[in-house]
């Protein structure tokens, strides 16, 4: 009897990523990337953010198209709800970053994924942003992410996928660790 194993395909090119890691370890300056977005106020609490280009590997890059994200506040904050709130964009960013990580790690470890879904919740006391209680922070008190993954793997292997994706996630790092932020005018 012969065993045939179907090659794992999660649509992630891990060979290219590993190649990039090797190449960039040799040329560390090429690893310096700058990500950019530009935002325009569109009345009320509504704004549109455009994402077009970024730099890295020693050159400028353009996305295949300009991506536009709308943000607003909901009606219960007396706004018009023309887009997701900025904090919801953060949740979206975290969930999509972790999901990309799950796919990449699964590909690398030879695990075929069938479905990956997640729900994410950020808990916040709005007395902070309303300036009503100086003891309350503006941002999330806590974020909970719940993954549901169907894959050819044991429960422990799936747990390990999710853990490794957090370990390598840019957005997870951004939300769990402080970052120096400078905001200037003009």
């Amino acid at each position: 009897m012969t065993m045939t194993t179907k090659p794992v395909d999660n649509g992630v090119n891990t060979e290219a990523l590993i190649g990039a890691r090797e190449a960039l370890s040799q040329a560390p300056e090429a690893a310096e990337f700058t990500w950019r977005a530009s935002c325009t106020w569109a009345g009320g609490t509504y704004s549109r953010t455009k994402i077009e280009g970024f730099s890295g590997l020693g050159q400028e890059h353009s996305h295949r198209q300009v991506f536009t994200y709308e943000a607003d506040h909901p009606e219960c904050f007396a706004s018009e709800d023309r887009g997701a709130t900025p904090v919801e964009h953060v949740l979206s960013a975290l969930a999509s970053c972790l999901t990309a990580g799950v796919a990449a790690v699964a590909q690398y470890r030879g695990i075929q994924l069938r479905s990956v879904t997640s729900t994410i919740e950020g808990r916040m006391n709005v007395l902070g942003i309303l300036g009503a209680d100086p003891e309350v922070r503006n941002g999330f008190n806590a974020i909970d992410v719940r993954f549901n993954i169907d894959a050819d793997a044991t429960p422990d292997e799936i747990e390990a996928l999710v853990a490794q994706s957090q370990k390598r996630s840019a957005v997870f790092d951004i939300v769990t660790n402080p970052t120096n932020v400078s905001v200037n005018v003009g």
């Binding site: 747990e159 997870f172 660790n177």
Partner: protein
């Protein structure tokens, strides 16, 4: 002064290499800045014992022969062990001889020391991977009133300033110091990033027995998936005690130690910790379970008789709402212990062999950018056993063979005879 080979450092690695060279009749000298086993004598804390049981204390042609093969040597016993070895192999050690510069020369290499200049054809760097405490740059933001110690300057809880203690790092060192400082009656917080959790004993046998038997310690540097990462994994959370107890974040929490995430920043006297603590603990729990799975599989496949049945340990219990910030003054932190690792000191090494991070580029101890130069010690130099004393046996055997062949080729080229 001329010799064929200079060995720098008279710790376990340098002495083991000396024995291998003597076996091969290779003329050499061992240069030692202080005394034999200097770091063990002067740069370790009072209560420290080896992580490995006595049966794992082996050097080439030398092994522990006491009546407690399952025990763990305290530092004075380690010093005696290494001292007796130096005497037994009659190692040509020059103590009190610090190397100040190494450069290339017409003969091969020139080694300048506080006791004169040596010229040699081959060179073995065996000064150890732990010459300097590695302290993160954010230490510069620590308020001046707070005392800072490293595992090289720490001796015992009584020597610490008044007040609470923040231990940064959860390697073997970090958890051992957090454990003993908390037991002394202080309030301890430990900042935990990536770490390795291991039980002291599993199914009635020491974890090193399992790692040895199942082949974990024999995994080679050139078979490891991501060597740079593997070499930087912190030492496992283990302690050698007469009662063979385990130490981990759960045991520390039971003592009352507060567990917080990795230290990320210190600003205006406020230390901030990562919110990623739960994931670091999950990774360590999963990794421990994978190792135990491997041990169980090995035991089953070999049919070996192990008295106790397989078991899995309680997951690390992470506080539901871990502290993210500590105001160092308001919370009366008197001391920060930097258990953030060690690094070698190569400030005297004037050879083009360091990478951009100041680490030696080598292939299992062979430095191809400086033919005839070898490095010993450190994590996973050649195998996972290289991190421990017993690793010197095989590492020095293989590298001495390489060195011997190098000298033969070198002599051959110089004589233009082949």
């Amino acid at each position: 002064m001329d010799t064929t080979t200079v060995v720098i450092g008279a710790g376990q690695s340098g002495l083991a290499m000396s024995h291998r060279l003597t076996e091969r009749s290779i003329d050499h000298v061992v240069l030692e800045r202080g005394e034999v086993a200097n770091s063990w004598r002067h740069e370790r804390w009072d209560s420290l014992r080896l992580l490995t049981p006595n049966r794992e204390s082996r050097l080439p042609g030398w092994r522990y022969d006491g009546d407690d093969p399952d025990g763990f040597m305290a530092v004075p016993e380690v010093v005696t062990f290494i001292d007796s070895y130096a005497a037994a192999i009659n190692a040509p050690v020059l103590t009190g001889t610090a190397v100040t510069r190494v450069e290339t020369s017409s003969r091969g290499y020139q080694v300048t020391t506080t006791g004169g200049v040596w010229n040699c054809e081959a060179l073995v760097l065996a000064g150890g991977a732990a010459n300097l405490a590695s302290i993160p740059s954010l230490a510069t933001a620590v308020p001046v009133s707070i005392d800072m110690v490293t595992p090289m300057t720490y001796r015992s809880p009584e020597c610490l300033h008044e007040g609470g203690v923040l231990v940064v790092g959860a390697s073997a060192t970090g958890v051992q110091l957090a454990d003993e400082i908390q037991r002394s009656g202080r309030t301890v917080t430990i900042a935990v990033g990536e770490h390795v959790r291991l039980p002291r004993t599993y199914r009635g046998r020491d974890i090193f027995w399992w790692m040895d038997a199942a082949g974990v310690l024999d995994e080679r540097h050139d078979d490891v998936d991501d060597l740079v990462r593997a070499r930087h994994i912190p030492s496992p959370q283990l302690i050698g005690t007469p009662e063979h107890r385990s130490i981990d974040l759960n045991s520390l929490a039971r003592l009352g130690v507060e567990i917080v995430g990795r230290l990320c920043s210190i600003r205006d006297g406020v230390a901030q910790f990562s919110g990623g603590l739960a994931n670091g603990c999950r990774l360590a729990d999963l990794k421990m379970s994978r190792l135990l799975d491997r041990a169980d599989t090995w035991a089953q496949e070999t049919g070996i008789d192990v008295e106790d049945a397989p078991l899995r340990f309680q997951p690390t219990s992470v506080p539901s709402d871990p502290t993210l910030e500590i105001h160092l003054h308001r919370q009366a932190i008197g001391t920060i212990v930097w258990a953030t690792g060690y690094r070698p000191d190569y400030s005297w090494l004037d050879l083009p062999v360091l990478d951009r991070k100041g680490r030696i580029r080598h292939d299992g101890g062979v430095i191809s950018d400086a033919p005839g130069v070898y490095v010993l010690g450190g994590n996973l130099l050649r195998t996972r056993r290289s991190s421990y004393i017993a690793g010197t046996e095989q590492d020095t055997y293989e590298l001495a063979n390489h060195l011997h062949e190098y000298l033969d080729r070198h002599a051959c080229v110089k004589a233009k005879a082949c």
